[in-house]
């Protein structure tokens, strides 16, 4: 809510949401997730929204595991045409640490890739719409007034500058 009412650009927030979604949906403990975290830290995207989306999508990702497993199994096992690609990647240095050869990891990665564009565009549209039509109304809520009086928003704005 604070992020929505801040001056951070919609692209930064939507980018953070997109990368956070990818981290959340991917199983932990692999090089891909670590790489994503690094990208979030280094790119000028909103970290708060990334963290929120990572938390949210880690729950969704857990329930999406069976679907991810099926997608990954199709790509790794059933599709024999892709086998030479996977075999090449499997023996490349460091790539094995991404655990791409696990059906759930690869399937989740594919789901995350498919969701990237809709999540980014959807979040950007929502933020623009919210700021134009809803923000002034929400500002009138008592809870927002109380929240604004506290120092947390100032701190957050300062941190996000």
């Amino acid at each position: 809510m604070t992020t929505l009412h801040s001056k951070i650009s919609p692209n930064q927030i939507a980018g953070g949401c997109m990368l956070g979604m990818m981290i959340g949906i991917l199983p932990a403990k692999n090089l891909l997730t670590a790489g994503m975290v690094l990208v979030i830290l280094l790119l000028n995207v909103n970290i708060g929204s990334a963290a929120l989306m990572a938390t949210l999508f880690s729950v969704i990702g857990y329930f999406a595991d069976p679907l991810a497993d099926r997608i990954g199994y199709f790509l790794l096992v059933t599709s024999t045409g892709l086998t030479p690609v996977w075999a090449h990647l499997y023996n490349l240095p460091l790539i094995a640490f991404t655990r791409f050869n696990n059906t759930v990891v690869l399937g989740s990665f594919c789901i995350a890739l498919i969701l990237c564009v809709p999540v980014f565009l959807g979040m950007r549209w929502f933020i623009v719409y919210y700021r134009a039509n809803l923000a002034s109304k929400v500002e009138q809520w008592k809870i927002m007034k109380v929240f604004k009086l506290s120092s947390s928003l100032n701190l957050y704005d300062k941190y996000n500058q």
Binding site: P27, L38, L41, L42, L43, N44, D65, A68, D69, G72, Y73, L76, V77, T80, T83, W86, A87, Y90, N91, L92, P93, L94, I95, A96, F97, N101, N102, T103, V104, V105, G107
Partner: protein
């Protein structure tokens, strides 16, 4: 780009790498303990782990693995394990070790602290084990052997049970134990007796319903009527015929009654049965009572054939299970696959791992050669230890890619003792074959791990030799063991609890050698197991002599008491049975015979009357013919006179 974050992020990464580097030994130690406990299901301890980045070597000291089936013993202990890894394959997550040295191996050594895992960890391991592939052949066979062993290797009755049974038998009074009211045979005989009475009453009613007197009177009247017939002329014949027809009808009706009586006799004989059938029934009831009373006495049974199976069977089942456990582990971590498979699919807790073996790349895990040495001795072991050396080659996650089987060889010889172990786990061929052969001569029988028994006290000294072979090919196992124990002496208890224990202690006197042959073979659905020994007959005879006679005596006393209590009832039942049966048969036979005699008389009367009528008819015919002749002669004479 968030440039102000580059330096902090870089610093964090450096800190993580440095932390990992400094704490790598602890991390590795923790990982080693955790994975080891997962595999062996018991405590794994590591004294220290030292890594050296220069040559990527790791040195593990004081590695002990507890035995989950005996938590106060170590399954294996290693003084030192040392190896170095190839750096480049590590970047592709492949662990390639050209040479590993394992020194100071020992097994079955005593532990000072329990090797049991905390219950929480055991529960977690069991949860993981539940997800394990239970369809693997080795897993199924492992369980089939476990089941077969528990089913077939039954223990001998405890000496305490026999002693108490003997004590009980000494003061045993069958008269007090068995009461007529409790015997099911007496109750059953009462039921049988009632059944006889019911049948008797039923047949009496049926016999009463046959109105023999009425039938008899009707037949007599018909006979009288026929006997009064006088055939003086041809005109009388028509009236006689009518009477004869009436007699015939009454006779047929009576014959039907005679036939009904005969049928009833047959049914009665079948319903009541023979007396010897009744005796068989009564004896079966008495046997049932005898078994029931004997079970109340809790008399232990001692089968002649199961002595060596009971004494050495658990040892054999345990050895086969151990061999199958190791074969199961090898099959789990070195799974066989087809040569032309381009993918290896392994189910994991989350998803499935797919690896892509290629001929020009090494397998994910390989220990090309492992040199080892150790001793058969150690803490808690008796006798002179035997030092051995050996090698294991080609331990790999993908034997097909490597193209070579895992081969293990251990050898040790020292002052009359010899240990030779060879193992071949060949998963490179179409039908995988795992074989372990062991020859261990000159060992102390106490180290054999024969479960202690009141029948076989612990070995004090002696020489044992074991020749064993365990083979698993596809779903078929073939395991054999020859065990010879010679020049042995047993630990003698200084204070025998009672006469029986004292006698048992002498059971093995004069036996120079124990030779046991054990065999387990077949598939998981058709597994056969046998344990035999040269002392089977000898021990059986001795044990039978000790217990068998007294058991037999007690059981015959029980039988005599049951006989005594049931005899009167039995005679009463048999007497009543015979009397009622014979009485009914007599009544039926009397009635049958009486009616039959009258039927016969009727037949004779009818026949004689019929003959008489025929004679009369013939006479009349002849007379008419004569008259005709005479009239014809007279007519001819008159004709010529004219």
């Amino acid at each position: 780009m968030r440039w102000k974050f580059v330096i902090p992020v870089g610093l964090i990464i450096v800190a993580v790498v440095a932390g990992t580097f400094f704490f790598l030994d602890s991390i590795l130690k923790h990982a080693l303990i955790s994975s080891g406990e997962g595999v062996f299901g018991a405590k794994v301890e590591v004294a220290s782990v030292k890594t050296r980045m220069r040559d990527l070597s790791i040195s593990i000291s004081g590695l002990t693995i507890a035995d989950k089936s005996d938590v106060w013993k170590n399954l294996f202990a290693f003084e030192r394990v040392q190896f170095s890894m190839k750096p480049l394959p590590l970047l592709s997550k492949k662990l390639i070790i050209n040479e590993m040295s394992v020194t100071g191996i020992s097994w079955g050594t005593r532990r000072d602290v329990s090797g049991a895992l905390p219950p929480k960890k055991i529960a977690a391991l069991e949860k993981n084990a539940a997800k394990e592939n239970k369809n693997s052949i080795s897993y199924k066979l492992f369980n089939a052997i476990k089941e077969k062993g528990s089913k077939e290797v039954s223990g001998l009755p405890s000496v305490a049970a026999i002693t108490s049974a003997q004590g009980m038998l000494k003061n045993f009074s069958p008269e007090k134990l068995i009461s007529a009211a409790d015997l099911s045979s007496i109750k059953e005989m009462d039921t049988l007796q009632k059944g006889v009475q019911d049948k008797y009453a039923q047949y009496q009613t049926s016999i009463g319903a046959i109105n023999v007197d009425q039938k008899s009177a009707a037949l007599r009247a018909a006979i009288d009527d026929v006997s009064k017939i006088k055939v003086n002329s041809v005109e009388d014949i028509a009236a006689a015929k009518a009477k004869l027809a009436q007699l015939k009808q009454v006779k047929e009706d009576t014959e039907k009654t005679v036939s009904d009586i005969a049928t009833m006799k047959t049914r009665l004989t079948a319903d009541f049965g023979d007396q010897k059938d009744m005796i068989v029934k009564i004896n079966a009831l008495k046997d049932s009572d005898w078994r029931s009373v004997s079970s109340k006495l809790k008399l232990p049974s001692l089968s002649v054939g199961n002595v060596s199976q009971s004494l050495f069977g658990p040892l054999w089942v345990n050895r086969v299970q151990s061999a199958m456990y190791y074969m199961h582990l090898v099959q789990k971590y070195m799974p066989p696959r087809k040569k032309d498979d381009t993918k290896i699919v392994r189910k994991r807790q989350r998803g499935t791992d797919v690896s892509f073996p290629t001929a020009y790349n090494p397998p994910d895990f390989l220990i090309a050669m492992m040199a080892m040495n150790g001793t058969t001795g150690g803490t808690g072991k008796q006798g002179e230890p035997l030092a051995f050396t050996g090698t294991v080659t080609d331990i790999t996650s993908d034997p097909v890619l490597l193209g070579r089987p895992l081969v293990a060889k251990l050898h040790g010889t020292q002052a009359g003792k010899k240990l030779a172990l060879e193992a071949l786990f060949n998963h490179c061929i179409a039908v995988p074959q795992d074989t372990i052969t062991v020859n261990y001569a000159g060992m102390n029988p106490a180290d054999l791990g024969i479960p202690s028994s009141e029948y076989l006290p612990p070995f004090e000294s002696g020489t044992a030799e074991v020749n064993a072979r365990f083979m698993l090919q596809n779903d078929t196992i073939d395991c054999t063991m020859d065990l010879t124990i010679s020049q042995f002496s047993l630990v003698r208890s200084s204070t025998a609890v009672d006469e029986l224990h004292a006698t048992l202690a002498k059971l093995w006197d004069g036996i120079p050698k124990i030779q046991v042959t054990a065999k387990t073979s077949g598939t998981m659905d058709n597994l056969s197991m046998s344990v035999s020994s040269n002392i089977d007959k000898l021990l059986s005879d001795r044990l039978q002599k000790l217990f068998g006679d007294k058991m037999a005596e007690a059981q015959s006393r029980v039988r005599a008491e049951i006989d005594k209590l049931t005899e009167q009832k039995k005679q009463e039942l048999l007497g009543q049975f015979s009397a009622k049966r014979d009485e009914l048969l007599g009544q039926l036979t009397g009635k049958q015979n009486g009616l039959q005699a009258q039927v016969d008389a009727a037949k004779s009367q009818a026949s004689s009357r019929e003959n008489e009528m025929k004679d009369r008819v013939n006479q009349e015919k002849n007379k008419a013919a004569e008259d005709l002749k005479k009239q014809a002669g007279d007519a001819v004479k008159n004709l010529f006179k004219m």
